[in-house]
Amino acid sequence: MVPGPSGPHRFPDRLGRLTRAADREGGRLLAPQDPEALEVWEEILDAFPDRAAARRFRRFAGHRVGILRKPRLALVLPEHFSLARPVHRRDLAAALEVVASVMDQYAIEVVSESRDARRLFGAVEPFSHEAIAGCAGALVLLSRSLNDEVGAIRPSRYVAADPCAYRINKQRLVFEAGRAEWPFAPADDREIAQACCGRPHVFLDEDEELPAFLEALRRLRGQGLPLHVTLSSRADEDLARRVHAAFAEDPRVEVRDAEPLAFEDRSEFQVSNELIALLTRRQPTRPQFLFRRGAFWRVEAPASPPSRSDLYLFRGEESNARGLLDAWLGRHDRDRPRPAIRLGGVLDEPLVSIVVPIYDRTAEIVRMAHSIYEQDYPWIEVVLVSNGSPPETLEAIRAAENFLMKRKYRVRILELARACGSATIPRDVGIRASCGDMACVLDSDDWLDPGYFDFLRKGPWRADTLYYPRKFYRDHGRVMHEQFPYERTLPGPGALENADLIATLRRIGNFMSNSGVCFSRALFDRAGGIDHRLSYGEDLYLWWRCARAGARAEELEGRVNISLHPGNNELVVGDNSRSEAACELARRQELIPWQ
């Protein structure tokens, strides 16, 4: 309501009753007029990978804008929070980036006993049961035990910067639910020694239980196991010093910093105090052990696996306020049995979320947006996921957003700060962020024919069906073999019941391709979403798992135009050359626990 000083506004703060009311309600989030604190703030905000989040934070933190009486969310900092520790500042930046997404709806209340927190924030509440109970939810930094304590009062999340940020570009934020059920079985030192024959790879992260973990590692070392310790990406000099000191003068312990290629060398970690480090394994049969709550736990496929959204966020998901709050405040109602409401006519037509991952495209985005604009079907939501795109692409995305808004579609843009290598992660993040009953995946360089969604109007749609389109390959310059069926409508194998779908996927591979396939969100969730380990063939693997979850397939009358141009390397129907990893995963499907 009162404009910020950094924006284009120049007129003074609103006077009178409102300012006083705002001050009474908690005043400003930032500490006023402390040059040292302001310097730290500049550093923290500069560390935001998402510049839009930094702008949002500045706007809402400087003054109280928007609704005056907002529900509150607590930002809980432990007593040992220190501005001198880089890892603490990094985690705080990650938490504030999460907070920036919801500041238009929620007021942030800082709860802490730390002196440094008082230097940084304008108003800090001392930690108490009442302070937490007055909030709708809480974010907790640097302490999982505190997270559990807070979680007993209100829904809470432990948030930290990605400990595995060195792994190519797959950046995540730790976002662990407080008081989560622990699905793993305990393990003792002997079991670990037997399982980790040779030299176990240990991943070590900053944690309040670090002294206990180092002690446990010393015990393992005492059993004659040489250790190969890799430090987390969050590690600062202080952590490194402590670890080196713990294993000083022991030549059989190698300590190294996290290196960019550590993920590629396939030396998977077997022991860690951080769950994310153990998640992306390629050999599910290899035993792994997590140190948590003062003991080791054997990480294997549990009967009721923890949901991914209970553990971490992928970059981009923190900017989707609705999904974020749903996960954070325990509003995930996807598994809840929903009443089957049939009211007839338009009221039975589902909301379709068209999810488009985008990287480095301009004119193609305009063409794609135009094809969505030309659809007759009115119940559409468009989710554009920028995969670390260059500025001209972001400009084209903005233009598309403005254009599609005129059609009265809700358009949402998720900006991943850095490119993820392939469209796998952006597509998954986009589908998970979508609100529709049905998702339609579309590549940014492809486009739909008019009337594509007519099938939703002709009769009831089925939640257990993969609707795939007919394809029309457009020759835009990519060199293909001579008889390549350019400029021809290519029909698929028609309607396939569940058993036939599995058989057909085995026989001819990915006949559905990727662009234009529509499926219900419930089916997507049941299948477990897109597997992030794959750069290619992730769609084939998803269809496979959908089939395992009971899906059938149906061919649409609508047509998707697939542009094959020199900058495009997507797989066409019948080309399964880059799908080995997906096929391998599918073969071991029974063995893959969860991801």
């Binding site: 009753r17 928007g66 939501e381």
Partner: protein, 495 residues
Amino acid sequence: MKRIGFVLPGLGHYGGINVVLNWAAILARSGYDVDIILPPSAGRPSIPFLSEEDGCRLHLVAEPEARRRRYHAAIATWWGSIPVVADLNADHHAWFMQAYEGQFFALNSPAQADFDELVASQMNVITIAHWLEDHILRHYGFEPKQTFCVPIGLDATLWKPVLREPLRRGGRGLCFLVEGPVNDPRKHLAPTIRMLEGLGLPYRWVGARVDRGLVGPHCRGVEEQVPYGRMPEVYRSADVLVKASSSEGMFAPPLEMFATGGTAVLWDVQGAEEYVTDRHNAYLVPMNSWSRLAEAVLELADDPERVRTLQENARATAAAWPTWEDQADQIRATIESLVPFGRCSLVRHVAKNQFRTILHSEPVVVEATRTRAEAARADYELARADAEAARALPAEGRLTELHHVKEGLRARLEAALQSAAEARQAEAARAAQVHTLAVEMHRLKASRTWRLAHLLQRARKRLAPDGSRRLAYLVWTGRGVWRAGRRLKPARRAA
């Protein structure tokens, strides 16, 4: 005394007009001389929404009269009034933006192009919602703009908490309220009513225009064109407002419902986030999703305790919301902070729209020319055939053949003459239109806007000759010639 002019299309009973009139009343009470500038066709209507005392402070002025006055600030209240503002003698020009008006037009209509052109101008923009301010900076910020955001105030004398019978499990049933005119497709009134009927939930409907044929047995009452002062009474008769609107700026009805102690189920439309927090003071469900809306409505109907919690939080939200009196300082500060951008950019964009309208008449003229040329060519060929027939040997077969050729050519001539006559008629109609446009052009040329544009153009030619534009013009002309040639080719071949 500083004079402020608000350009309005009329004084109907619309929420947007209410907001503008409240601004005008606050400025008038603060000592500004405020003109409400109306088109000549509007006459002298009475001023709605305001008290008689506030109404007397405002001056209703017709556009021609406004052109003779000098303003401290001239403010357009919708995009269509930006050309009027561009022609007013004012130190500051502003656009009062209450909604993303680009969503109001029919799909693919030329008004979209006009809107985008005008909105791109360099000017002050006053919005009433933060998302609108962001939207302007994000999509139309390529020419410098100064944006302000002053959220609307709530009329605290009118919108107060009212007593309702408390909700409890096993008590009275929940009553829903549907608000809006039936003829506005953005509000989806008919499907909303069908949904409530289908779910078997009681509801009331209030709107500027209603269709009693739509409602069914669960409807507890329909009210049409209720005076603004009586609206709280209508809101009191229901507990939860249901709104499935797909295009809003900063809608007031949910806030007004909050003020009376009710809550709402809404589509997550732009502007909702200004004061609605999902599951805190209302339910926000994904926009364009009927299934989610129905689920949320059913959930509330089954859970009166939850409704009561939502209503308490909603009442607190409305109590903390500023009244118009609270907003007075910010409104005055905004008017005093307007930047004197000058009119150059406004004039440039208004002129572009005008020129585009004129240039669109060209294709008909080209068509008429083409048809005339075709008729002339057919006439020429007929004459040639006649001459050949005269020179021909009197062989019967040859004569018959030539006779057929002649008949064929005569038919073609007649057809060509007929289409030429039609083209002439179209051309005459177009000429009348062009004449009208020419008259408008003449008026435009007589205006200060034109003179300024002319001066600007001369200055630009002298100071900043723009090669790329010249090239674009040449390409455009060449394309026109090529197209004309292409159109003529089949006729020549046929001949």
